[in-house]
Symmetry: C2
Subunit: 329 residues, 2 copies
């Protein structure tokens, strides 16, 4: 295992300390590193809280700040955060208007956020993300997995929360964005969990995992390494088959790297994906390209399409100021 | 070679097309893809132009935009752009106040930017960056190499150019920032140039290349893989030995990934580096953490320290709006 670390058991705490140090203007680190919270809270605003296993950086702590999340709870690598983390986050950032949990659809996350809602003692609602069309159930999920589209939900709902909208509105909006968002991924290499010390899965030099999950879970099929154009076509055909609204609506195209793939290849995938979308009559109105929802050091990428309404475009464009996404201020 | 590409010879053109497409609000692509230019030029401003071999994305095209570069000329992977690229960029973006070339110190780049200055037919000056303290000469450089510190020069000089400062001032400022900036890198793996199809260098499972260049050039020594704290200590001791101004000045710490290292490890390196800097009495006033000056898919990172003046802090904080760096607007 070749990583820039001191010891596997210290990776998360040292990384969180570095994150909080580098972004001390934006965030604070909760006691016992239970959560990362916005330094400046907005009184009367619904508190947006997300979280999940670590190893997907910048998701979720990188999206804490103005116009997006109020807190993020980091679990150990690829392990759900515990209910007391989310309860502590609610306690720290809830401002009297209730809290909204944005939860990726994995069994551990679903269960632990549910328990947190019960013990939080405040009004808490939940939006579940399940944008991955690759498989209907997987290693850690019943139903589809929540993957890169989660950041789209966090950005759009975050902007709406900043406008002062009530909890019930935000739930409806978050569910609408999730329904309008579909993703699929491909892995060229495995990732290596620091505590395991060896690759999560074995893959041949000429193979790729089509439909891979963000923890390296199996996808649809193990196939021969293909050209970028073919990869884009297979992934987007699966995405579009499940998202009829994409034809006719202005769309967001998110080309997301898994951590080990450089920007040069991701921009090449933008071009490959755009050609496929053109062919299908899908019009891309907004782009986001980069390593945003990663799987440690895995090479590969996911493609996400969101069929935007005019309201969603306005909220996507609204100012955001976090460690990983920033515009308009 | 496992990459998201169609064919090695099409990587650069397809990646540039995707970049221009994803950032069409910010940039245009010159004829024959000779350069990436700002969509909105500021009349009367000195034109800032950089460039170099591709494979270091987002450097340089990702830094084209308000408050930073006016144009970037992408060579083939790890290969200098040709003089006609820079001459075409000058022709396209020079606004009557002259052009400033920001050039990393590699023989091909130095020679080709020099020839471009001769044929440009406008007033052109140059700032050379050579912030890498690892070695005094290397595979493609006489004197020190220009590495991640180049982005610090581009940001600070870009902000000053936006204020309308004349060419001679910008040259003096750029040289001052370069003198105040030192870097060193470490590689855990090699990178793979698409046209070569195999790793640039061979490195053992338990080894790292201390002082590596951004093209995978040899550094100071090949050593056993060490803990993050030890790596930070060795790199920063070399940096600080060469930058006495760092003690007493507010400093910028840039923890830069080489493309294959995830953010989780980079933030851990922020923590490791900060502990070393604390011990040496160096005060970090600004942080930048991420994959900014990469080496394709190489795993590893570089640490850069700039000893800032108050003027430089103001210029660092000034608004910037590019694909890869954005704040304040």
């Amino acid at each position: 295992m070749k990583k820039l670390i001191n010891a596997p058991e210290a990776v998360l705490s040292e990384s969180l300390d570095g994150f909080a140090r580098a972004h001390a203007d934006l965030v604070t680190l909760g006691e016992e590193r239970k959560f990362v919270a916005r330094r400046q809270l907005t009184p009367g605003k619904v508190a947006l809280i997300s979280g999940g296993g670590s190893g997907h950086e910048p998701l979720h702590a990188g999206f804490v700040g103005y116009g997006m999340l109020d807190a993020a709870c980091p679990g150990q690598v690829f392990t759900s955060p515990t209910p007391d983390q989310m309860a502590a986050a609610v306690e720290a950032v809830e401002q009297g208007a209730g809290a909204l949990f944005i939860v990726k659809n994995y069994e551990g996350d679903v269960m632990n956020f549910e328990m947190a809602a019960e013990i939080a003692g405040r009004e808490v609602a939940r939006v579940l993300t399940d944008d991955d069309v690759a498989v209907e159930a997987s290693t850690w999920s019943t139903g589809r997995r929540g993957v890169a589209g989660t950041l789209v939900v966090e950005k759009i709902v975050g902007a709406a929360a900043e406008q002062g909208r009530p909890l019930a509105d935000l739930v409806a909006l978050g569910e609408a964005v999730n329904r309008a968002t579909r993703s699929m991924g491909v892995a060229l290499t495995s990732c290596t969990v620091p505590a395991a010390g060896k690759p999560t899965f074995v893959i041949g030099e000429d193979e790729m995992e089509m439909g891979v999950g963000i923890h390296g879970e199996p996808g649809r099929r193990r196939v021969a390494l293909a050209r970028a154009d073919m990869i884009a076509e297979e992934m987007l055909e699966a995405v579009l088959a499940d998202l009829p609204a994409a034809r006719g609506a202005p769309c967001l195209l998110l080309v997301n790297g898994f951590g080990g793939t450089p920007l040069m290849e991701l921009y090449l995938m933008v071009e490959a994906a755009s050609r496929v979308l053109d062919k299908h009559g899908v019009k891309v109105a907004r782009h986001l390209t980069g390593n945003y929802v990663t799987s440690l050091d895995m090479a590969g990428c996911s493609l996400t399409v969101t069929a935007l309404t005019d309201e969603m475009i306005g909220l996507w464009d609204a100012p955001v100021h976090t460690a990983a996404l920033r515009w308009g201020r």
